[in-house]
């Protein structure tokens, strides 16, 4: 499929989606959000895809909503509010849901500024690696008087803790990649030149993994945010029952017994 605003490439089971509006720091135009959502869903349906890698073209990762495109089209505040809510229902929230629900590992390689919804997009991925020159910024509240959206208000306190989440969201201070890694918001901060090699290498390892089991693992961790221990133990039992029927589990056990490296097929 031809895309205008993203670039799609496949290698070794890794599907790389590159946000490709470098002249706008990859801001989330409606077209981009639509294309990205479709691409994430397509990656979910395609069994040959076993890891999703998300990155940005040019010097930015993603500048968040494109205010130039649709920020203030209505004069009537009530209609403006309704329109934004409708856009979120139709466009932005389906993207975050698609990304969060993908039953395959997702990796964000944050190559530059991740602002507003761009930060949300990174946090919606399972593993985030950022270049040393990249930074994260919550522009919603202090600069616009808006609520952190695209999941930021959900992800941020969970990864950063309440104090740091509120600090970041209320002040809009830039958070360097290095600090983000120290605080545990992201997996790792690497030198700029190392970002793509590191991300590609990690994505390749994830893509060679027991994909279905990794998907169940994600479901277990996500449900754990809401479950009490008793419900979570039951869920672990259920998902283990499913995961232990995969061919990859059999291969893992055999490889362990034969003292060799497992060769997983994602089945």
């Amino acid at each position: 499929m031809r895309h205008q605003t993203i670039h799609v490439a496949d290698a070794n089971g890794v599907r790389t989606l590159t946000l490709d509006r470098p002249e706008r720091l990859n801001a989330l135009s409606h077209t981009l959000v639509r294309e990205l959502t479709e691409a994430v869903k397509a990656a979910g349906r395609d069994a040959s895809v076993r890891c999703l890698l998300l990155t940005g073209a040019g010097r930015g990762f993603c500048a968040g909503a494109d205010l130039g495109e649709g920020g203030m089209r209505e004069n009537d505040p009530a209609r403006q509010g309704e329109r934004i809510a409708r856009d979120m229902d139709r466009l932005h929230n389906p993207l975050v849901r698609a990304l969060a629900q993908l039953e395959k590992p997702t990796l964000a390689a944050v190559n530059g500024p991740a602002a507003g919804g761009g930060m949300s997009l990174a946090l919606a991925c399972d593993i985030v690696i950022a270049a040393r020159s990249a930074y994260f910024v919550q522009v919603f509240g202090p600069q616009l008087g808006l609520v952190p959206d695209m999941g930021s208000s959900w992800f941020l306190p969970r990864v950063a803790g309440r104090a740091r989440a509120l600090g970041l969201a209320l002040t809009g201070e830039r958070l360097s990649a290095e600090q983000a890694a120290q605080w545990g918001l992201i997996w790792r901060c690497v030198e700029d030149a190392q970002l793509l090699p590191e991300a590609t290498s990690l994505a390749g390892k994830l893509a060679a993994g027991p994909t279905r089991g990794l998907g169940y693992l994600k479901r277990a961790l996500e449900a754990g945010e809401l479950n009490d221990l008793d419900a979570q133990l039951n869920l672990e039992r259920d998902l283990q029952s499913v995961a232990s029927r995969t061919a990859d589990f059999t291969e893992g056990v055999n490889a362990f017994n034969e003292k060799r490296r497992p060769v997983f097929k994602g089945r």
Partner: protein
């Protein structure tokens, strides 16, 4: 041309039947043919002692996504008044043995109503329940306006039927529409485990308990309690009651015959 049957029937365990609605291309839309096949199977099992519980399921994407709207242009007030289709739904509601719905994906319109006509609903975590008929200028026609408020209460039933808003599995669980939510891979397995637990128990007691619970909706409490006592008195005279008590005292599983 060999066509796939619209329902598939298997016997995954003794006394248990698994019915799988099988129109995946149409998200299991409830065509007259599908409903007819389902009604025929259930009617055939009413007096069949080899069947003690039935699990009904659909596919991964849809339990059943409502009526087959392609058949609607042929429907007139007359066909509705003749109630041929209603008779097929009634076959589900009047089936006297335990009926368990294992719901994955969409259970919309008639699909939601079929699930509600079952005794126990087990939902996969991706299940969605809704009554969107109002979008077509009609209303739920097989119990949606009657069984839904009895289960989830007035306010949520109104939201679902008037605004056509579907609810997800989590909400269905908290509203009492479903008994349990499982990972989608285990929905049928859990429903079958419940069916197996039921068929290991005395069939007459199971059947009477089901009948009384269904009657509770339209019986005054006093009369219902009286009926319950009389029914229990009758069960005290069954062979299965002797066996159940003996098995309990001897700490062994009972061997029940339905007598």
């Amino acid at each position: 041309m060999s066509e796939e049957p619209v329902i598939r029937i298997t016997e995954p365990a003794p006394f248990v039947r698994l019915v799988t609605m099988n129109r995946p291309g149409a998200l299991n839309a409830l065509s007259g043919e599908l409903l007819g096949a389902l009604a025929q199977a259930l009617d055939g099992w009413r007096h069949d002692e080899a069947v003690r519980a039935v699990v009904l399921t659909g596919g991964e994407r849809a339990f059943a996504a409502g009526a087959d709207i392609k058949e609607f242009p042929l429907q007139t007030p007359a066909t509705q008044i003749l109630e041929e289709r209603a008779a097929l739904f009634d076959a589900i509601g009047r089936f006297p043995k335990p009926l368990i719905a294992a719901v994955n994906g969409y259970a919309l319109g008639g699909g939601c109503e079929v699930a509600m006509a079952c005794d126990i609903i087990i939902a996969g975590e991706t299940a969605r329940f809704g009554q969107p008929e109002v979008n077509l200028g009609i209303i739920p026609g097989a119990g949606g306006t009657q069984r839904l408020p009895r289960t989830v209460g007035k306010s949520l039933a109104m939201l679902m039927c008037l605004a056509a808003e579907p609810i997800d599995a989590k909400r269905a669980l908290s509203a009492g529409l479903v008994a349990e939510v499982t990972p989608k891979e285990l929905t049928v397995e859990r429903a079958l485990a419940i069916a197996k637990a039921i068929v290991a128990r005395p069939p007459l007691a199971v059947r009477v308990a089901k009948d009384l619970i269904l009657r509770s909706y339209d019986t005054p409490l006093d009369a219902g309690l009286k009926l319950e006592r009389r029914s229990n008195a009758a069960l005290f005279g069954t062979e299965d009651k002797q066996e159940g008590v003996a098995a309990f005292i001897e700490k062994r599983p009972g061997n029940f015959k339905g007598r």
